[in-house]
Amino acid sequence: MSLSNGQIGVFICHCGGNISDVIDIQSVKQEIELDNISVFDCEYLCSNIGQDLIRKSIDKHSLDKIVIGACTPAKHEKLFRKCIEDVGLNASMLEIANLREQCSWVHPDNLAATNKSISLLIGKIKRVQLALPLTPIQVSINPNAMVIGGGIAGINSALNLANNGIHTYLIEKDVTIGGNTAKIGKIFSPEKLAEECAMCSLSPLMNEIGTHPNITLLTHSEVENVSGSAGDFKVNIRKKPRYVKDNCMACGRCSEVCPVYVENDFNCGVKDKKAISMRFAQSVPQVYSIDSDHCIELTGGECGICRNVCKVDAIDFEQRDENIELDVGAIIVATGFDEYDASKKPQYGYGVFENVVTQMDLARILGVNGPTLGKLARPSDNSVPKNIVMIQCVGSRDEDTSGNRYCSRYCCMAALKHASLIAKKYPDTNVTICYIDIRAFGLYENYYRAVQDMGISFVRGRPAEVVQKANHSLVVKVEDTLTQELKEMPADMVVLSSAMEASSGTKQIANILNVTLNEDGFVKEKHSKLKPVDTSRDGIFVCGTAQSPKDVTDTIAQSGLAAARTSVFISDNEIRLDPQIAQIDHSLCNNCDECFKCPFGGISKDVSGKVSINPLVCNGCGYCAKLCSKSAISIAGYKEEQIIAEIDGVIEKGDVLVFLSRGIPYATADNIGNSVAQYPANVKIVQVPTTTIATKAMIEHAFKHGSRAVLMVEEPTDNPIGAFIYPLAFENFKDLKNELGETGAKLHFKKAYIPHYRGLAEIFTSLAQMEDGK
């Protein structure tokens, strides 16, 4: 290596064995130590001791450039940048080699992992030498917050924020807040053996939302678009018409006279609701709304009876969609869950046999404001069931593509709660719960014991099928695995404990916000222990069942934390944004205006007529850089010579070079490590903003060094960046393939999806093992 300018410090983290158990740190140190390169190692570099070591070493050895070998930069990059800044270095004088997720966790062979880590560090050493100081971008933080979703999580976080003096917009797509908690009737509690009335706890909170001076409630409203960046988000909301004005007194005359009955999805689809109605008596706001799909007047007929009886003239058939623009500094995602569609398991007969219901359906049946006014009755004939069989884990703990791998965490307790309610009110009804494991964690064990004492039966086994016999009676076929008996249990009603799934709204919002989801479709937290409510994007937080399956108790705890994190974020007043965004060299710009095609609207002309990049909007995706025919635009920190320097250090004969876009593809590769999957150690990853910045010179350099193949992995098309970048990146790939001529056959292109990390590992493996890289 010819390394001349300045003194470089390399810090290698053991990560408490996560790295050092696989990688031989001492031989790595020996291999890279040089006159102008000092190498240090530390048990935990992210600890105070570790950061102290970095700071003191910079001072003591006059280090001016730093390379860190540790976990993925997604974890602690900010921490380390701040750390070197504390002692006077520019934050850009740092490069991080991913020695954990992309080395020690994916390559069990010690020698191969050690050799790879050496090459990764050398790549970063070469690259950091070309690092240029970047000026941080400062933004002042808008003091308003927005909470998306008006269930118990959103309600609780909005109230916490508002009580902390922060003006909060609460956005709910339904006509009332309350969410799933409003449906469940009773809540189980860990410390009490009694079940509490859900509405009695929820209703006061809902009312407080409706009247709080610091809360602006927008119901029947959906977030359509979010632009800007942490501290300064611009939000477009579409408020849908309810055809009833806010002066509605909720007297109910309209509903009494309305001639149209519609399916009530609040009550398991029973047709007991009018086309003009309130969701439930305690709805907030206390304003009726009209179902535009079924209202005679709104579907082109003539009716208008409700308008005639309304004493305050609140009915307004002329209402239209309203577009509302908000400016907020921070956002909390509280978009909740959907119940798993149990008809995906046809062997249990949901949707086919009337008397097969889900726990949520049963909650409604047992609810005093439910379809039977709280009377336990089976749907086919309204009789009280004598035998009820509950089936646990329907769609949970299930590797089948129609199920979910995770445990839904609440269903054991929900089944116990319903069994207890039934046992108390209907002592002649037998309840049997078919389970695999009863998960009554922590203090809930008390509740489990109490339910056992009530005489509820438990059968350990996952039923094969539910069969319907004459008179709508049912039979559940199961092996009692404890007695090894095959049982055919008669039942008048079967209750399926359906999984809790990330709601469709969660997926939709995650896409709009560009926050990362985990492989199960829930919003992924930044760090499961340290930052459990931070998302992949600064200024956006998550809580409740949008983050993972959980019960009401845990949801409330977590939504309080989300509010606290949001308050802290907003009270900072100012935020520094990532400076690794597009930068323009005006001496090369010919004002062709191509770059104005930026899909995010981040480029415009300034007052003097020069092309100007808005640092608050730019996400550094490289779209403009690719369009610029004069190469006047580049992404700060990702100049061609910097990438080539890294390739120079990293690539050895027979290696596969992978360009990973820094969003989803990079996170997907990290996920391979998180999931203890593997791929060969000759796969070397170089992170790029997006693969559009990959050039012929970079790829030729890799092949010159003996690379067997080069792979570019791009953002998927259903993500806000990928939607625009993917087509351009694919074009770039095809151009490069052509330009490379024969060697072009060794250039490959894929897109990544977080849940499909195994697929990415397989692609890595097949390229690494392929004879000729084609």
Binding site: K344, K345, P346, Q347, G349, V352, T401, S402, V467, Q468
Partner: protein, 315 residues
Amino acid sequence: MKQIENIPDRGILLFKSCLVSVEYPGIESSTTYAFDKLDVDYLVSDEQSCCTGLGYYFDLFDQMSTTAVAARNFAVAKKNGYTNITTMCSTCYAINKETCALLNSNEEVRSNVNTVFENAELDDLTYKQNSLDEVDNFYHVVEILLSKTQHIGKLNTIDFSDVHVATHHACHYYKVQYDDMIGNPNHPLLIDTIAKSCGADVVEWYEDKTLTCGAGFSQRHINRKMSLEVTHAKLESLKNAGVELVIHMCPNCQIQYDRYQPVIEKEFGTKYDLVHMNIAQFVALALGADPVKVCGFQTHSVPLDEFLDRIGISV
């Protein structure tokens, strides 16, 4: 999951089945009859051998032998340019599909098989990785027919409206590679959809719908009692569902239902008013085929004459 829109109707190698050939040849003639009427481009090749499925599931054939024989058949398909291998038997389907996946994913297996070809101077049989795709190149006849339901419905000449039908989908079609069938493998509806398009009154769900026919390869012979008990349970469920016609999709199931129904009636002292046919025979019949000269119903053990007579077809 496979999508109906992606089911091909060109380049179909209609894969001959041992049990169809010697037990229910009418399934093959019905299939070609239906394919001709429905403008399906297909080939039947006398170079193609059996899939070894019976031997494999009799525990006699080892995986490598089965794989080598399959690879030879894949070469037959490719040589003739008919690469959408489409089977009448569900075990042929599963064996071919799984073997293709194995040849594509396992380099050692592939090279072993190719070495055998080379040593036998049969180089033209060499299997190249991914030269067939285990998803896109393998079908069961029922899938081709399903993709033609509208066409079948239009051409149908028979009033099936008061025929109570239930279906039995073959285990090795929808359970072996369950992620790769059309619909939900816990409630297969392919045959039901086709029968409905001809106006039949189909009982979509009945107890034991997904229970095996009871053949169980060697079970039929070495555990005859258990095998017949399962078939008996299935026939009882069909009887309780008020069914008259059972339509299936695999010759092995058909042996179990059609040939053993009289045996079960005798041994269990019961009686079934059930007749059986393969979905290809059903479709051919709907499209106007002769029940003897095309459908080959004379080869069945449970006579269909009365049933055919009732729906207005004279034998």
